[in-house]
């Protein structure tokens, strides 16, 4: 970085090399055509420049062959770019199932980061090297964007909806984190650092935090405080008036009206904020909404708790405990 002007950011994730190689390919193609056309127009303008021996252009007939050729060749090159780019993108959009989950809440103008074990950070994200990390992100206000150039990773952070971003850091170090979606006054200050550590250092860092409870523990506490227990039960089987939550996370849920949905983060968040939207089959519309009384951080804690309630139980449908 000290000699001359750098052209590439550091390569610190499993994506980086692939993206850079693709980028170099794109640069070469761009260079090729720019030089081809540039050379073409300069050469022709010079070779056929106007002078007394060349006062008029000649009549050159058109050529369907040439027109087809210079549609087909760019098309093929474009399709190669499309395929290559799509392949990279699909990988970026499909987090591995065993990734370490971290939660990110963006707000004007800071990042709140929550590790599952409870450790919280502001504007910094500590992660272990060579481990898949999946960020589940949401905004409390406007659209932000989580961008780590060294990882070649970027995803918008939206209000009202979770988005995810995953990466595997391959090099320890400190890397810029930028907000990359204009969000108001301090948009350019809304950055920070991603700190990639050796696993042992990461462990040390994790336990070094104040003895705060984990996300799940916070979620369990909230579950009681907000009286979810009174309808959903303690989480063993079906509750008195509402579906039991053991094993719900990740399972397929049948709704009133016949549709089936997967109980993911978005489903759980929606069920808390807008319970009438998707009512489980056999139950009535009696759950109150918690819109306005619960923050995004708290929602993440509850989701972590529900997730912790484990694998789907042996029985399938709860006995019709809900009354219409």
């Amino acid at each position: 970085m000290n000699q001359g002007i750098p052209l590439f950011p550091e390569r610190a994730s499993s994506f980086a090399a692939g993206v850079d190689t693709f980028f170099v390919f794109l640069v070469l193609v761009a260079l090729f055509f720019s030089v081809l056309i540039g050379f073409g127009i300069l050469y022709f303008s010079f070779r056929y420049r106007r002078r007394t021996s060349n006062p008029m252009g000649q009549l050159v007939p058109g050529s369907h062959v040439l027109e087809i050729a210079w549609m087909a060749v760019p098309f093929v090159i474009a399709m190669v770019m499309f395929a290559w780019g799509s392949k990279l993108y699909v990988t970026m959009r499909r987090p591995p199932s065993d990734a370490l989950e971290v939660y990110v809440v963006g707000k004007q103008w800071m990042w709140k980061i929550q590790h599952p074990d409870g450790r919280r950070e502001f504007n910094e994200l500590h992660v272990p090297v060579n481990r898949d990390i999946k960020l589940t992100m949401i905004s409390e206000d406007v659209i932000h964007d989580f961008f780590v150039p060294a990882f070649r990773a970027k995803m918008d952070v939206l209000p009202g909806r979770y988005t995810t971003l995953w990466f595997r850091a391959t090099k320890t170090g400190r890397y810029h984190l930028f907000c990359a979606q204009y969000c108001g006054t301090d948009h350019s200050y809304m950055g920070g650092w991603v700190i990639v550590m050796e696993p042992s250092e990461y462990q040390a860092w994790l336990t070094g935090g104040s003895n705060s409870e984990s996300l799940e523990q916070s979620g369990q506490r909230l579950f009681t405080q907000l009286a979810c227990v009174s309808c959903h039960g303690e989480g063993q089987g079906p509750g008195p008036r509402a579906p039991g939550l053991r094993g719900v996370y990740g399972s397929k849920v049948k709704l009133n009206g016949g549709l089936t949905v997967v109980a993911d983060d978005a489903y759980i968040r929606e069920s808390i904020l807008d319970p009438q939207a998707k009512i489980v089959a056999g139950y009535g519309p009696i759950m109150p909404t918690f819109q306005g009384v619960i923050s995004e951080d708290q929602l993440l804690q509850l989701i972590a708790y529900v997730k912790s309630l484990g694998a789907p139980p042996a029985e399938t449908q709860p006995a019709a405990a809900g009354k219409e």
């Binding site: 807008d274 319970p275 009438q276 939207a277 519309p285 109150p288 909404t289 819109q291």
Partner: protein, 214 residues
């Protein structure tokens, strides 16, 4: 084609002028389709997301008034079409009567709309700080009513412009401008009026008739 003083200086003849004016109106209506289209798209997205809230909101609307409005507008399109025919047949008085009838029916529409809006104010269904709706879906019902006011409001604005257009046509018709052979402005005014009518034909079921028999 008979010649009157109607030919503009940059046209060859009245045929070219008529063809140009008519094409111009059709292209303009195309832009209006795109304009309302944005509203209809927004409606579609939110109705798909919140079908229950939309049904609840729709039930608050007065189907009777909406129905009368639909009938009134269709009738006004009928009088408008007859007006074009009257111009074609060079019947000045009939043309004026029919244009006036169209205006009156349009006025009735706007009057009924005004009553509906007043009702919404009373029932606290106008989005904003005074909005109040009982039920868990209230926020999304507010989106429904935002769309209700945006769509019917934009439509009403176009009706008002249409009334202005009709008045202009009426005044010139009274002076005999359109019954001497060249009546393209009446035709094109009619195109605009019919378009505004068609927008309402879509608006009415989409806003008023969701889940009517629940």
């Amino acid at each position: 084609m008979e010649r009157t003083g109607a030919l503009f200086r940059h046209f060859r003849d009245l045929d070219q002028q008529r063809e140009t004016a008519t094409l111009g109106m059709w292209v303009f209506l195309l832009t209006e389709i795109m304009f309302f289209g944005g509203l209809f798209l927004t409606y579609t997205v939110y109705r798909w997301k919140y079908p229950h809230a939309f049904a609840e909101g729709s039930r608050e609307l007065d189907v009777v008034k909406g129905g009368w409005n639909t009938a009134v507008l269709i009738a006004s399109s009928f009088t408008m079409a007859l007006a074009v025919r009257a111009a074609q047949m060079k019947k000045r008085k009939l043309l004026c009567i029919l244009l006036a009838a169209t205006m009156i029916l349009g006025g009735v529409f706007l009057g009924i709309k005004y009553l509906e809006y007043a009702q919404k104010f009373e029932h606290h269904l106008v989005p904003g700080p005074s909005f109040h709706f009982e039920g868990p879906d209230a926020p999304q019902v507010q989106i429904f009513f935002s769309l209700y006011f945006a769509m019917t409001g934009m439509h009403a604005l176009h009706m008002i412009i249409g009334e202005g257009l009709m008045l202009t046509l009426l005044i010139f018709s009274w002076r005999g401008k359109y019954t001497a052979g060249y009546y393209a402005p009446v035709e094109n005014g009619g195109l605009y009026w019919h378009f505004v009518d068609i927008v309402w034909i879509f608006l009415f079921p989409l806003l008023y008739l969701i889940d009517l028999h629940r």
